[in-house]
Amino acid sequence: MALNALPPNVALTKVDAAIGWARSWSLFVYPFVTACCGMEYMSLASAHYDLDRFGAALPRFSPRQADLLMVVGTVNHKLSPVLRRVYDQMTEPKWVMAFGVCTVSGGFYDNYSVVQGIDTIIPVDIHVPGCPPRPEMILDGLMKLQEKIRASKQEL
């Protein structure tokens, strides 16, 4: 049978692309919410800037069940072992979004108590700056993360 005679409900693709597509559109978010950025996260999850249309609506508060760790808000040195532990407990595949400039670089809190960027503790896949970032910015970051997921080699 020639390829162009396939019925319309059959598609041909690579395994990586198919799994990447599935993983990017069904992210289970662990919202590690600490501070003011949490307000924008709550806005994002609500009706105006719906996170559900990206398939990422359901927060999973157990690290074992989540695959996207969104670190939302300032992380300080007292909290850093907790963040590290949560990240370590997550199962592969996992991604990390640094939400807000405090997680990206410490923000304007250059002091004795704040971690200057969570990428000194855990590997970060996408940094979304802003203080706090508008929900549209976070969605833009999420879309870029989805492209990254789709483009990467999928481990099974």
Binding site: V33, C36, S43, S46, F61, V86, Y109, C131
Partner: protein
Amino acid sequence: MATSEHDSEFRTEDMLLNMGPTHPAMHGIVRLILQLEGETVKRAEAEIGYLHRAFEKHCETGTWTQAFPYTDRLNYVSPLINNFGYAAAVEKLIGIKIPERAEYIRVIMSEISRITDHLTCIGATAMELGAMTAFLYLMKAREWLWQLIADVTGGRVTVSYGRIGGVKADLPINFDEQCRRALKDVAKAITEVDKLLTRNRIFVDRIRDIGRISTEDAISYGFTGPVLRACGVDYDVRKAFPYHVYDRLDFDIPIGQTGDTYDRYLVRMEEMNQSARIIEQCLQQIPGGFDRQHPAGVRLTPASVLSETQLGGHIEEYSETFMELPPTLRGSERQRRPGILADDPTVVLPAKEETYANIEGLINHFKIIMPGPGHGIRVPAGEAYMAVEGGNGELGFYVVSDGGSGPYRVHCRGPCFMLMSGLHKMLEGGQIADIIAVFGSINMIGGELER
């Protein structure tokens, strides 16, 4: 006692459970260490400090105005109240009075912030008890208010709108129509949630008679705000020590009876209605009213042309010019300045038209902006404590100056700190499931708790 009455048959021990720093119902990060006998909480202890961001130390390192962004992030659900509290404390220390229009603007914005604070608190509590719909409706209402705040201040959450001597910019055109429309929509959302929750059997059963605290304990632990008012104590800083224009406004303070979680919920719901009432009165009483359009028929000159012209020495022609300011500076033009900022050149920046058009304005601007000894806002040495009514109670700022260009010491008395110190009294004897309801009702905000 460490063992239960079934000691003869089973040897039982209390369990130590950690409701850890990251927990969906812990609103950010507080660690509760619970000693449990079955489901009953025998002892509870809160460990805080997971959001300590050195607010007080940072305030010491900058100038007086550079503290405003840090104050935004204290109680981040009602940032404008913190801004104005800090500004009011410094103004009290300097001893200047801000224009009446600025006071009305501050009251309007504070009350809008108070409504967003209570919306967030009730929404989050309802969601944690399972009422997802209430959360979505209240977040929708909060979005409308945030759009209103963004029109006025430029930012949704962290705004830095207050300045020492007044506010940063005037209200935009047609603000009263936008405000009334937004408040009408918010009132509709609140009514819907009221119908869903207030007489809902499940919701009421989960929060009535839960987390009760006696009035003596509440006062001993320094509670203020909705939690103290739910216990029956009639203390609101807006009525007890009126500031800005609250003494001219007609509003009621809702008081509860039993001090349990249900009363706190009812007090917050009613406070939102009262805030809407205050805003309506301010919209009617504000001196200067509202503009309906941008001033027409006026020659607008961009700032770049003005500076160029000054180089040519044609200063006199431009002394009456209205400058076309970039969008971030709209609302602070020269003709609006007397309404929004005090008339004291040692404290308040001059209008941009003055800064660009003549040398006195430039020097004035320079002396206030530059850091270092001899510059900065002139604040006499001394100390002052000013309390405003925040969303959770008495938000106080204790400001100490040594006459320098920045604060010597700023201390924020965050009402959540007191509420958390007394939390164990409300949890002991209850069940684990009650912890969620009680914790949500005290509206712990991490930024204010740990500064």
